[in-house]
Symmetry: C2
Subunit: 288 residues, 2 copies
């Protein structure tokens, strides 16, 4: 099998993804730690090899063609797969952890009770592997699994997507609004999403998405602590799963939301994983 023209080198993918994300050759080159001309040339060669134009170099800037959008998406996935391959291989070869160690990705402060029970129950299993808990930010579990930093993760639909993973459902829970205890709404026995979506003095906080904050007038937050403090200060409110009550402050009040979609916690792992430790952990989890 002669390697046809359709062999993308990882280097090319890295370069293209950088340019496609920055939409600016200069900045992309800087991010890649190289000069701009070789980068331009590499992208041109890539376009010629694929026989497809990936970028529109217009006046004042660069934009993605349709094919470019496809390659950005598919290329990211392919890159993640290669770094996952490297990471998992290195882990498998590390002398200290031959095979009996699992990295579990969990959103910090998410489903704390469930996690506690899971770890306890699994530790009691005969031949249990060591579980390293890798705490991460808002929706980062997907990335952890995809690039091999984690072997298994607890994910929460509808926030996380389970596409591309194997998973088992563990728990479903309602959502509550966390409000400043002193706020009038906090006295209500229940609320609807409409009640909390446009409260003038409690604008919804904004989380960074891929490094940039969406527009809006709510406060910008980066972690749960900041959010908790802003709620305590009466500046914002949050809609969170029921189990998030575990990190409530004294100045917070939780009011059930009647019409919020339920949050379902899953245990998820890369499709086709076949390690015994992982299978044991999943079995333990589903039996909780």
């Amino acid at each position: 099998m002669v390697t046809g023209v359709d062999t993308l080198e990882t280097r090319e993918l890295r370069y293209f993804v950088a340019v496609a994300e920055e939409l600016h050759f200069g900045r992309a080159a800087e991010r890649l730690g190289m000069a701009q001309p070789p980068l331009s040339r590499a992208i041109q060669q890539l376009e010629r090899r694929l026989g497809v134009s990936l970028l529109d170099r217009n006046r004042r800037g660069v934009s993605l063609t349709g094919a470019g959008q496809v390659l950005l998406y598919e290329g990211r996935a392919a890159l993640e797969a290669t770094v996952a391959a490297a990471r998992r291989t290195r882990r498998a070869g590390a002398a200290d952890s031959p095979r009996d160690r699992l990295v579990l990705g969990v959103k910090a402060a998410g489903a704390h009770e469930l996690l506690q029970k899971l770890l306890d129950a699994y530790a009691a299993e005969p031949g249990a592997a060591e579980i390293e808990v890798l705490l991460c930010g808002f929706c980062e579990q997907e990335g952890l699994l995809r690039d091999g930093r984690a072997d298994v993760a607890l994910m929460h639909t509808p926030f996380n997507s389970l596409a591309g993973f194997d998973s088992e459902e563990l728990m479903a829970e309602g959502q509550v609004a966390i409000l400043p205890a002193a706020h009038p709404l906090a006295a209500r026995p229940a609320l609807s999403l409409a009640d909390v979506s446009d409260v003038p003095d409690l604008p919804l906080a904004r989380w960074p998405n891929r490094g940039v904050y969406p527009p809006g007038n709510g406060p910008e937050v980066r972690d749960q602590t900041q959010l908790a403090q802003l709620i305590a200060l009466g500046r914002t409110l949050a809609v969170v799963p029921d189990s998030a009550r575990s990190w409530m402050w004294a100045d917070h009040a939780a009011v059930p939301l009647t019409d919020a979609p339920p949050v379902v916690t899953h245990i998820a792992w890369p499709a086709h994983s076949r390690s015994r430790a992982l299978a044991d952990l999943v079995r333990t989890a589903t039996r909780l």
Copy 2:
């Protein structure tokens, strides 16, 4: 972000996968169209970069270490992802099929009626894309989807695995035994798996798996036509889904199996696909 040591080049993955599959540097080099010494060196560099030993070079041969097995598996997946990226990008950029064309992978002769209905129903949709039907062998749909040769496929559990794809269930059916019409068993109104698993004069046919036939005394077959003929000749029997009756010959008899697991046909596509044509096709399929 300086590209760390964990950057595997596609070339390295190709090389390693070839060696890991051949377990022989010379043959692997030949398959790769290169000489053996550079290949040896490349693998050594790879091992040094990863800080992990991948192969055991013993007297008379090469074998995979644990880490090597991991890299073989993960590396294959990563390679498939890159060639899928190339293929899909090129298809997206091809001038004649901007976006309104889908390649549907189907096992030849599998679920023929369902496929017919699906194609008819979808063609009647407004704005329907052109559907190219890509027929494939026994369990090859997974590979088609993974490496980008197909956009969507009809898969049959428990033969295919849906892990790593998004999918919707379309149909469940029982299984029947296809027997030579003249065979005594063909006269029975129903059979169990035990009845057909060890018939002395009708040994089960063997299908090639990754190019090699499993051991056994049944005849070796490569496609459904061969199988059909062997059954007609009274040399073997087959356990197949109910819908396979559509390719029965005059000399065949079909007898329902009472305890065979049902075969479920799904429509499956790469996780996260977002094309409108695909979404329409899936919706049409689930409404059949």
